[in-house]
């Protein structure tokens, strides 16, 4: 199975030419384009970061209506779910490529234990879902004065 390269290193190489050939062979074999998207359970891509007073989760989910997104938190597990619908194909239209994931998606992320589930903020900007979970006050690093 051809390993679909997700990045373009910008340097022309023999390997890329072979990759291109394999791509063409598999495409013409009529395999559905969805094989080339992120495998199930991996859409949307997320990046997770930690700072001193919050944990930040960024989900890369372009093209959805923010009202259909659901973000919930339970016992330290953050769940992001929603549905991405595609507009219908115009009349007499025909697809050449369908790489964008469509349908329902769910991602569950385990957050470190010291986050405060009541202090969560979520924003949807330019196709990125930005979730900020503040850490519990008691677990923030604190200087202890020596008498």
């Amino acid at each position: 199975m051809a390993n679909y390269p997700f990045s373009d290193s910008g340097v022309e190489s023999l390997f890329d030419a072979v990759q291109e050939q394999m791509d063409r062979i598999f495409r013409s074999a009529g395999l559905p384009a969805t094989l080339r998207t992120l495998p199930r359970g991996r859409f949307p891509a997320v990046n997770i970061g930690i700072s001193d007073d919050a944990a930040v989760v960024v989900g890369f989910i372009p093209g959805i209506d923010p009202d259909t997104l659901k973000v919930s938190m339970e016992k330290g597990l953050l769940t992001i779910s929603g549905t991405r619908n595609m507009p219908p194909l115009p009349e007499n239209g025909r697809y050449y490529a369908r790489e964008r994931a469509e349908g329902d998606f769910t991602r569950v992320i385990e957050l470190p234990g010291d986050v405060d589930p009541d202090n969560v903020e979520a924003k949807y900007i330019d196709g990125c879902l930005l979730i900020s979970i503040k850490k519990k006050e008691s677990s923030k690093p604190r200087l202890i004065a020596i008498q």
């Binding site: 990046n47 997770i48 970061g49 025909r94 050449y96």
Partner: protein, 128 residues
């Protein structure tokens, strides 16, 4: 129709065209008037998006940025490079001056119409 690699290889040092980039997922469909390309570009705004047509190649390039506070340390990363780039070869039947593009919620929709002469048309047949 897809041409992934850039056309010019620079000898020393990496130019902007050579930095590693992510290939955005695209949907491409065609109807009678032309081709529509829909690309997933999360985190890209109008200011960081660059669409250009050079001879027969259409290049979509965008820089993603997510507003996070400065002291955040990344502990899990699935989308590594913030740069998106993808190029396509356009045949001569497309009207490159009439390409229209719109960006909403991180999704770029590009409409490439066919030149008038190349649009499919029915020829009526008269029976003598």
């Amino acid at each position: 129709m897809n041409e992934r690699n850039e056309l010019v290889v620079e000898p020393g040092g990496r130019s902007k065209e050579q930095r590693p980039a992510n290939l955005p997922a695209v949907d491409i469909f065609e109807d009678a008037t032309g081709v529509t390309v829909v690309a997933d570009l999360p985190g890209v705004t109008k200011d960081t998006l660059n669409i250009k047509v050079e001879s027969e190649v259409l290049v979509i390039e965008g820089q993603a940025s997510v507003p996070v506070p400065a002291d955040v340390r990344l502990i899990h990363c699935e989308l590594r490079e913030p740069l998106f780039r993808r190029s396509f070869r356009l045949g001569p039947e497309f009207d490159k001056d009439a390409i229209s593009a719109s960006l909403k919620h991180g999704v770029l929709t590009l409409q490439v119409p066919r030149i008038r002469e190349a649009q499919p048309r029915q020829i009526p047949v008269t029976v003598m």
